[in-house]
Symmetry: C2
């Protein structure tokens, strides 16, 4: 396996150093380099903090900046950040209005963010939103249940915009939990993920196979299937999301096609084109779109489709200005 | 080879349709779907038009919008657009101030853009800038000489901003030709490119090999080398660029690390981190940075480093607002 790196041990630290240097206008390292924070904090607002294992870049550090996150904590590859990192981020960015932790539903992340919330609770008001946007059509069960995947971006964008607009902590938590029930994602992979320290693929696919329902940590998905045309693949995904999400004709839909790291941009737009016309076939109008490589699994060749059922107020939060390395738009 | 597609024949058209649908606020198809143009043209300015083969996405369609290109013409994969496409783009976007064609130096592109310029010359004032940013340290020679690669983005951004600011056609051409001598790029690939219609890799690399000095059309590079650490690879690239570009201490440098389509974001930032500290070692200050997947070669795992020697006026053109699918920043 060939990767641009000097060693598996220093990969994450070197990459984060490059990220902070490239975006020094927007971000800075927090205390002892334990997390990445906005260069300029805005007092009076709720601090929105997220994080997770490395290997999902640009998530979450790429979402730090005005209109989105205040800080992001990065662990080792596919490994939760430590409670110590998260507590440091809370202490440095929480300024009186409280702190909201946005956590993807993986056992390690949930445990460490919970521990950090308890450790910080004496001095800071802390609330947590767990993201579980992964679809679960076949009653797939692991101890953790639905995983948090690409829909995390949508929740972090909307909560970040609401925090920027001055929403209090309780309202943000309520919005986050409510949104979580209205955002669904399903992924497909064309090959396994090669993890730098083991130098091995986490699962192997034959040339005519694909893995449906994958997460973003190299774990196998729900079903191995025969490789098919893009239209067939996207139709399978859309149908599963539709059954699980039950969108209605008056919903304002956000359609998000996300690349897992090794997928060319051209293929993402091709998948988007199919997903969008299938939505139209279902009588569902797409109000907002996002296509790109945002929530990754190292260099996995694959993509996910996310649909969010939003209302007019939530569309305004989506449209609100955001200035981060990965997502950027004006008023 | 697995790709998200329905057929090699329809891949480009389906992907472009998705691109235009996803960014309908910004772009629209031109006449008969032959090119992608800004949704709203601005009369009175020089029209800046580019294009080339498909397979380099988001270039060039992702650069269409206020502050950058007026139109982009996409050919088949790794194949120049036809003169007919380019003439249509000129006729639809040129509004009296003339039209500047920005062309990467590949035989097919140069020939077809030249033919289009001649065909349109009776009714439109047309000038052309050829981009040749590829380094040429070993006297590598093909009929075409230096190729146009990732530095094309820099030239299109600066010329787009200058056109937006009202520069006349002759001044834009002069700036483009002058910039071309001050921008240098070198790429490295970890594997060959798999072209959809042949289903084959254009060159094969062993697990311990890499290809230095690659272009963006799957052609082999200048030298096959033993795979090395990221620091060694980036040092080789930087040294070659430095010899060719001869930057000086008072230059304002733009440092651009570009992914070829199959390279994770984390590795691009890691490479950027090394390049930036090497620049510092050479006494060269980096004034502006760009890191991301912008100029690709399908799903090639690899990256290029571009350095541009700019002056203060050119930095202002770089900083000027741009609103495209791939590059977006405010005032």
């Amino acid at each position: 396996m060939k990767k641009f790196m000097n060693s598996a041990e220093t990969l994450v630290a070197e990459s984060l150093a490059g990220f902070v240097a490239a975006h020094e206008r927007l971000v800075a390292f927090g205390a002892d380099g334990k997390f990445v924070r906005r260069r300029t904090l805005r007092p009076g607002k709720v601090a929105v903090i997220s994080g997770g294992g490395a290997g999902h870049e640009p998530m979450h550090v790429g979402f730090v900046g005005p209109g989105m996150l205040d800080a992001a904590c990065t662990g080792r590859i596919f490994t939760s950040p430590t409670p110590d990192q998260i507590v440091s981020a809370i202490r440095e960015t929480e300024g009186g209005a409280g702190c909201l932790l946005v956590v993807k539903n993986y056992d390690g992340d949930v445990m460490n963010f919970e521990m950090a919330a308890e450790l910080a609770a004496a001095d800071h008001k802390v609330a947590t939103v767990i993201v579980r946007d992964d679809i679960n059509p076949d009653g797939f069960s692991r101890s953790q249940g639905r995983r948090g995947v690409a829909g995390t971006l949508v929740i972090e964008k909307l909560l970040g915009a609401a925090a920027e607009a001055g929403w209090p902590l309780d309202d943000l938590k309520r919005l986050g939990e409510d949104l979580d029930g209205r955002i669904r994602t399903m992924g497909v992979s064309l090959r396994g993920v090669r993890v730098p320290d083991t130098q091995r693929e986490t699962f192997a696919l034959a040339e005519d196979e694909m893995e449906m329902g994958v997460g973003i940590h190299g774990e196998p998905g729900r079903a191995r299937a025969k490789f098919a045309t893009a239209t067939e693949i996207v139709a399978t995904i859309l149908e599963a999301i539709r059954l699980d999400l039950s969108p209605e004709g008056n919903d304002r839909l956000l359609l998000f096609v996300n690349g897992f790291g090794g997928t060319p941009v051209s293929e993402l737009y091709l998948a988007y084109n199919i997903a969008r016309s299938l939505c139209a076939d279902f009588g569902l109008a797409v109000a907002r779109s996002l296509v790109g490589t945002y929530v990754t699994s190292l260099d996995m060749a694959g993509l996910s489709v996310t649909i969010a059922r939003l209302d007019g107020r939530e569309l305004s939060l989506w449209d609100a200005p955001v200035d981060t390395a990965a997502l950027r738009w004006g008023p």
